[in-house]
Each structure stands twice: as structure tokens, then as C-alpha cells.
Symmetry: C2
Subunit: 315 residues, 2 copies
């Protein structure tokens, strides 16, 4: 049994990763939880620890106590849109937590792999020529969140270079699924549709920018990539993770509306636009696919159906 | 008269910049001071404000009150070596101060230019093929300080893209002169020589890694580049600043020892080695030179003489 620590285990990607590892029966899973979140099925409750990762002493003590062989550091403030309202909050939270995890891992004699999660948002406003985006494309961030991810990413690189800490870095493109917060686009749409279906009164839906293109994959495919990165990733290296297919947000909305049981009117809400946004992000994940054989396996329409059904049950 | 705010005005580059602007008689200069530092000649005392830039409210209030047209944001924890002892301190200080200055500038109706100071250390461990280093070379930081500068640099870019804030970014290579703290290599050598000359007893000098190559310029040339960047730099862009000439640290030491009035023995001190260091940094400043005509004007041997004379007076 490999001893694994997942930070943010009750969060979106964290809970999917935990449940996917539980099914493989090869991992002893510990997790950090912040606030009241979802409890992943199959992880014993006493292996979940309430912890704010910016509490440095508590974080270092926990890692020393658990002595994990793998650390998946998934906990982060993860909304580009929200980061505009308090840039300092997103920056300091994400960066301090990353430093504490890295310093904690330096004191962990059992550590074999530490996964640092960057983001496609690090590339930000790329030019058409740069598409699809490989790891050499220049970074051009357009949100404080994106800058916080650049700092996390390069901290991972620096601790590898300075201390030979066995860090693997990934830059996931958009991924969605059950339990993603409705401040992200797919659950935001799905939740509103589920509400409208239920109430049968107000049949108007508010949307932001529909013109952008994003590379969506299913969270279940993404967390499998995280596991493969730990097994086969080269130390210090960075890997883009995405399907390689771009969907316009407008098409995502259309597909979801086709699944709706009622007729819905769509209006644009200026409050749902960010000060700056990225027109198109598509991954070239060739470096990772050649190394590991990873492929996305779940068609996006299937993911959308699952997310809508999830929100129908929540509402 | 242009109204100028210099953060870190009592620091090394800050004080040289202030005194150089005073001599041009075209600037009304305000500055922030942290702790007790050098007071730049010619700047009225009531225009110097004691302030810790991580105090967000105080920083925003100050900028609102002064309404500077130019902000040179020079204040930072600036030692790569020191950043290893408390990575979080250097990261959070430099990044929080940068966010506060950027948010302050967003509320400054008079703002025309804001200078964000990165560092050659952002490039870090480059390959021989990348030398001399232009702005397109991949970043490969090897100290927490370097990561903090990457974050500052990209925050400047992000505020330009998101809010059209008139940010100019520079990545200065090594520069030295009077008042640089003796934890940097040139004043570290000069101070020890001055001490040995004075005491006439202990004639042994402790040194760290002598094999690295660095691109040194005089701080007086560097602060002139900062002023030119404000006058002529393109908004949002980044410019490397350096002489284009690499000096091995060993040669710097030899030149200084030749100026010494006593014979000195040199011993290597392992405590003066960083966990990771950069073997060679040489600037390609072509982008900035073609735009502004800037050139370094002060021969390095002259700078070394001045620094040694400065420390002879201090000891």
C-alpha cells in the first residue's frame, strides 16, 4: 500500500481523485479538509484532517506525522473570476500553502513524489500561432489566480533544482464534473437549468461571456492523469493536461439547453464578465501522452449529462 | 515638475535613483522608507514616509494622497541567498507589497507610469545556448527570491492586460555601488578588505562560490535605465538591463585584492554557498538599447574602486 496525502480532499478534483484511488485498492489515503466539504467515499474518517494549509506549523507537523510517499497538493483558491475581487487573498493563500507543503515535504524522509498543480490559465492570452498550447508557449496571465499558479509552478521547479525534491508539475486545462462549484461555467449553467426545471416559473438564465473557447475534459480523466504523472512523470518537469479539443462556451450552453425539460430564455449578465479573459485555450498534451499513453476517455456530452443530473438531485 | 514616488527610497538602488533625479531638477520626489535607512541628499524630509508596504490600507492611502505620476517600486527583500532561510518571508513580502502598489496605482488618477522591478535571477539556470539572455529565454529560477520576482513581474503584466495600468517591467542584472548591503558579493569582499586593512591583524578573508559569472553594472547606470524605461518604455513590455559583459566572481575578487593595502589570504567558507546557484548570467539588453539608446558608461574597475573606498570610510 502506498501512503498518499491529498490536500483539498473534500474539494472538487480532490474528492474525485480520492475515490478513484480507493477503487484501485493500492493506496492508504490521507487528506486535508478545509471547512465542511464532501467526504470522499471509502476514505476512513480518521484519515481526514481539518487544516488550513497557510497554518505553517500545523502543515509541517502533519506531514512529519503522516510521512506520505506521495503528496497530491490540490487545495487552492481556484476561481480566476473571484480572484479579481481580492487579488491578495488568492495570491497569498495559494503561494503560502504551496511553500508550506514544499517545506513540509523537505522534512518527509519517505517522500517519493509531490504533485504541484498549475493551470492552463498561466498561458492566458496566447496568440493564434501558439495554438494548440505546448509547454514552451510564453506565459501571459490575465488574472491574479493565473499569477498565483505561475508562482506555485515555479516554486515546484525551484525546490526541485535547489533541494532535489521529487516534484512533478502539471498544467491542467478546464475539467468539470459533479461537485464543481457553480462559479465555474458548466455547473453554473447546469445549476440554473435544474432550478428553472424545478420552479417552472422564471424561465430566464443569466450568462457571461459565451465567445471564449476552452479545452474541457472530465474530472475523472483528469485525476487519472494526476496519478499517471506521479507514476511516470519525470522529476522537475511540467506537463500540459487537456483533451486537445476546444469547445466554444456557447456550444456548451446549447448542448445543456437541449437536455433541459423546459424552455429557457438566455440573457447576458455583465456582472458575469471578468475584467480580462482568455479567448481560446487548447492543450497540446503530446509530451504527457507520449510518456504515459494517457488519453481522455469520456465524451464531453456524457460529462454534461452527468453534471446536469447531479444538479437536478441537489436542487 | 513630475511627481514621483520611489518605494524603498532609503535602500540601495532607491537612494541612488532619488539622488540622480534630484540632480535633474525636473522631479518632485516622494519616497517610502522602511526602518532607518540612508536619507537621500536633496529630498525634503517631509516627503519621506515611514511605511511597511505590506500594510495595505496605509499603502493605498498614501498613493491616494500623493497622487504620483510615476511610481518606481524598488522596495523588496532582495537577497537570493537570504531567501533560502525563510522562503515564505521573501515570497509574501515581495508579492504582497507588489499587489498593494498595483492596487494603489489603480486608484491614482494621475498615474502615467509604474515600474515593476524583476531580476535576472528569474532566468536562473540557463543553458549555454541561451547566452546572452534575451527576454524570450525560459525562466528557470533557483531561489525563492527568484520566484518572488517572477510573481511580481507577471503581476505587472496582468494588471496591464486586465486594467490597462501603465506598467513597465525590467529585469536588471547584477549592479553594485555605494550602500549595497554586504550580503551581496562586491560589498562583502570590499567590507572584509577594509576591515583587514584597518585591523592589520587577521589577514584572512572568507569567500563563497568564486566560479560563477555575473553581468555587473554600476548602480548609477542602472538607475538611469530605470528613468529611461519610464520615459520611453512600451506599456506592458519587459526589458533586460545589463552591460552584456560577464565577470567571473574570482576576477572581481582578484581586482579588489590588487587594490588592497595589505596582503590577504583567501579561504572558502561553505556557509557562503547557496543550496543552488546560477553558473552564468549575461544580459542581451538589445531590446532596451535599441529603444532608448541606453549604454552602461562606468567601467567596472571604477565601480570597484568606489565601493572599496566607501567601505574604507564606513569601517
Amino acid at each position: 500500500m502506498k501512503r498518499v496525502l491529498i490536500t483539498g480532499i473534500s474539494g472538487f478534483a480532490g474528492s474525485h481523485l480520492a475515490e478513484s484511488l480507493v477503487r484501485k485498492k493500492k493506496y492508504e489515503i490521507y487528506g486535508t479538509v478545509f471547512g465542511d466539504g464532501y467526504q470522499p467515499v471509502g476514505v476512513p474518517k480518521h484519515q481526514l484532517v481539518k487544516l488550513n494549509l497557510i497554518d505553517r506549523e500545523a502543515t509541517l507537523t502533519l506531514i512529519k506525522k503522516i510521512q506520505p510517499e506521495w503528496i497530491f497538493h490540490l487545495a487552492a483558491l481556484s476561481s480566476p473570476a473571484k480572484s479579481f475581487f481580492d487579488p491578495r487573498e488568492t495570491l497569498t493563500n495559494n503561494i503560502e500553502a504551496q511553500v508550506n507543503i514544499l517545506d513540509g515535504a523537505l522534512g518527509d524522509k519517505k517522500i517519493e513524489r509531490l504533485l504541484v498543480i498549475g493551470s492552463a490559465e498561466e498561458y492566458g492570452q496566447v496568440t493564434e500561432n501558439d495554438l494548440p498550447i505546448d509547454e514552451k508557449v510564453n506565459l501571459n496571465p490575465v488574472s491574479p489566480y493565473a499569477v498565483s499558479k505561475i508562482a506555485q509552478d515555479f516554486l515546484g521547479r525551484q525546490y526541485f533544482l535547489s533541494h532535489q525534491l521529487p516534484v512533478i508539475r502539471v498544467r491542467p486545462f478546464n475539467h468539470t464534473g459533479e461537485r464543481q462549484a457553480p462559479l465555474f461555467v458548466v455547473p453554473a449553467f447546469a445549476k440554473q437549468i435544474a432550478e428553472i426545471e424545478k420552479s417552472k416559473t422564471e424561465a430566464t438564465m443569466k450568462v457571461g461571456n459565451l465567445k471564449s473557447y476552452r479545452d474541457f475534459s472530465d474530472v475523472k480523466d483528469m485525476v487519472e492523469a494526476y496519478r499517471l504523472a506521479m507514476e511516470q512523470g519525470k522529476l522537475g518537469e511540467v506537463y500540459n493536461l487537456g483533451s486537445g479539443q476546444a469547445y466554444q462556451i456557447e456550444r456548451v450552453l446549447t448542448e445543456l439547453l437541449l437536455m433541459s425539460r423546459v424552455k429557457i430564455k438566455v440573457v447576458t449578465d455583465p456582472k458575469r464578465w471578468q475584467p480580462s479573459d482568455v479567448p481560446k485555450l487548447v492543450a497540446d498534451s503530446g509530451k504527457f501522452k507520449r510518456l504515459t499513453g494517457w488519453q481522455t476517455t469520456i465524451p464531453f456530452s456524457e460529462t454534461l449529462t452527468r453534471v446536469l443530473d447531479y444538479w437536478r438531485k441537489q436542487i
